[in-house]
């Protein structure tokens, strides 16, 4: 029971919208964005990989020719002295590893093999201390889904939440207009919904995925123009910045891995979309 003026207004708006939007066979053409944050660090090696590399290293040591110190270091030079000191330190560390089995606690989670001597003594007092950031960040520990410092070895994908009950989480998407291309529509929609404070690069102009869905019956009754939507996903990468929700079309966002997405997004949507995403 809408007042008459309001109803005609919405009709006019719908007409205007349909003139601007791409429609095909009753389906609204929509451009979606699969915005990914690439992995920043190497993957942790598989335990078998680690063991195999140790094994190969031992074999190499057995088969290696002795190192010709007098060829590489001139007799009586400073470099030769430093080399000899370094070798003695390594020997002492190796003996320590066999004798006392101390576990060294470091901020950077380095792999500590039993026979490997870690060259923390590499950095002499004359050289500057090299600062290394940790591979596991605070965002990992707190499981902050909005952080882009989380899960540094994995690919993170942006999903946004619409202010509705069902099918709320999805990739950012929006209608393609009659005057623009797919990639232009995707770029515009991403800026409208998630703000412009992100350094984003779209991977070419071809869509990477397709998803067709029908609008629920209740929606179709009001808007007889569309019976559903055909979404074409465009791939993009983020290099800096963060999402700013517009609080109109989307109210929340999260950066999730492919596996975590199952917990946010509807199963049907996940099944349709998962093949576009990277495992790592």
């Amino acid at each position: 029971s809408q007042p008459i003026s309001q109803k005609s207004q919405s009709d006019i708006l719908n007409l205007l919208k349909s003139d601007k939007n791409e429609v095909h066979d009753g389906y609204r053409i929509v451009a979606g964005v699969v915005l990914s944050r690439n992995p920043i660090i190497f993957r942790d090696p598989h335990p078998f990989e680690r063991e195999y590399y140790l094994y190969q290293q031992r074999l190499e040591h057995i088969h290696a020719s002795p190192f010709p110190v007098d060829f590489y270091f001139k007799k009586g030079s400073v470099a030769e002295k430093k080399w000899k000191e370094k070798k003695e330190r390594e020997k002492a560390d190796a003996l320590l590893a066999f004798g006392l089995r101390k576990t060294k606690n470091k901020t950077s989670s380095e792999k500590i093999g039993e026979d490997e001597a870690i060259d923390s003594s590499d950095v002499s007092s004359e050289e500057e201390e090299i600062k290394i950031a940790s591979r596991i960040t605070s965002a990992d520990l707190t499981n902050d889904a909005k952080s882009l410092d989380r899960a540094l070895q994995r690919t993170l994908y942006l999903i946004v939440r619409k202010p509705r009950e069902e099918h709320s989480w999805q990739f950012p998407q929006g209608g393609v207009e009659k005057t623009e291309t797919l990639v232009q529509a995707a770029s515009r929609e991403l800026e409208e919904e998630c703000g412009n404070c992100m350094d984003v690069w779209f991977v070419g102009r071809r869509p990477v995925g397709y998803y067709k869905y029908d609008y629920p019956k209740s929606f179709v009754k009001d808007n007889a123009e569309y019976k559903g939507a055909k979404v074409f996903f465009m791939a993009a990468h983020i290099f800096a910045g963060q999402v700013k929700v517009d609080n109109k079309e989307i109210v929340d966002f999260a950066w999730v891995t492919k596996q975590e997405m199952k917990n946010y997004v509807h199963t049907e949507y996940y099944e349709a979309v998962k093949d576009m995403l990277s495992e790592h």
């Binding site: 791409e22 095909h24 053409i29 690439n38 992995p39 920043i40 660090i41 190497f42 598989h46 078998f48 195999y52 094994y55 057995i62 088969h63 290696a64 020719s65 002795p66 010709p68 060829f71 950077s108 600062k131 290394i132 950031a133 940790s134 591979r135 952080s147 882009l148 410092d149 540094l152 070895q153 393609v176 623009e180 291309t181 797919l182 990639v183 232009q184 404070c197 992100m198 350094d199 690069w201 779209f202 991977v203 070419g204 102009r205 071809r206 869509p207 990477v208 995925g209 397709y210 067709k212 055909k230 074409f232 996903f233 290099f239 800096a240 910045g241 963060q242 093949d275 576009m276 495992e279």
Partner: protein, 168 residues
């Protein structure tokens, strides 16, 4: 008045200038040069390393050892094969999606399809797209990105505006 020199005199002059232009003190060290000092220790060291390095005494592998070694080798090859298969499957799935999407796009008509297929070959990658490293950058993720003031004549990243679009 130029004095004319005889050919022998000219040859002698040339030879002396060439001799002068050669580096003097470093030549005795190069083994091949004429002034090489055969008793130079570096020459001896190099000869020793090349011809007289002792081959390390390799421990003989028993039957058990050999079996163990071969099992490790096979396990490693299997591990790599599985990894490769996973990677291939992932790529095949991605390509399937890509192909399907483009086929569906073609059904919608020429405008969207053609604009999607053209111009992809000259695409280049941005400098910000870096490969992973051992540890992350010290300052972490840059959350304070501000878009540069838009210059309508230039594009900072390699996705140029649609050439088929009419300028407003």
């Amino acid at each position: 008045m130029t004095k004319s020199l005889s050919t022998t005199a000219i040859r002698g002059l040339l030879a002396r200038t060439i001799q002068k232009s050669k580096p003097k003190s470093s030549s005795p060290d190069i083994p091949g040069s004429q002034n090489a000092n055969i008793t130079d220790t570096r020459y001896q060291i190099i000869k020793r390393i090349l011809y007289e390095t002792p081959k390390p005494e390799l421990p003989k592998m028993t039957e058990q050892d050999l079996e163990r070694h071969e099992t490790i080798d096979r396990a490693w090859k299997l591990f790599l094969r599985n990894q490769q298969e996973e990677r291939e499957n992932e790529l095949a799935a991605k390509y399937r999606m890509l192909n399907e999407a483009n086929i569906e796009l073609e059904k919608l008509g020429p405008r969207l399809f053609n604009s999607a297929q053209m111009g992809n070959k000259i695409m280049m990658f941005p400098r910000q797209m870096k490969i992973p490293t051992e540890t992350p950058p010290l300052n972490g993720w840059n959350y304070d990105y501000k878009p540069p003031p838009s210059d309508p004549t230039k594009d900072s990243k390699p996705l140029p505006p649609d050439s088929t679009r009419d300028s407003p």
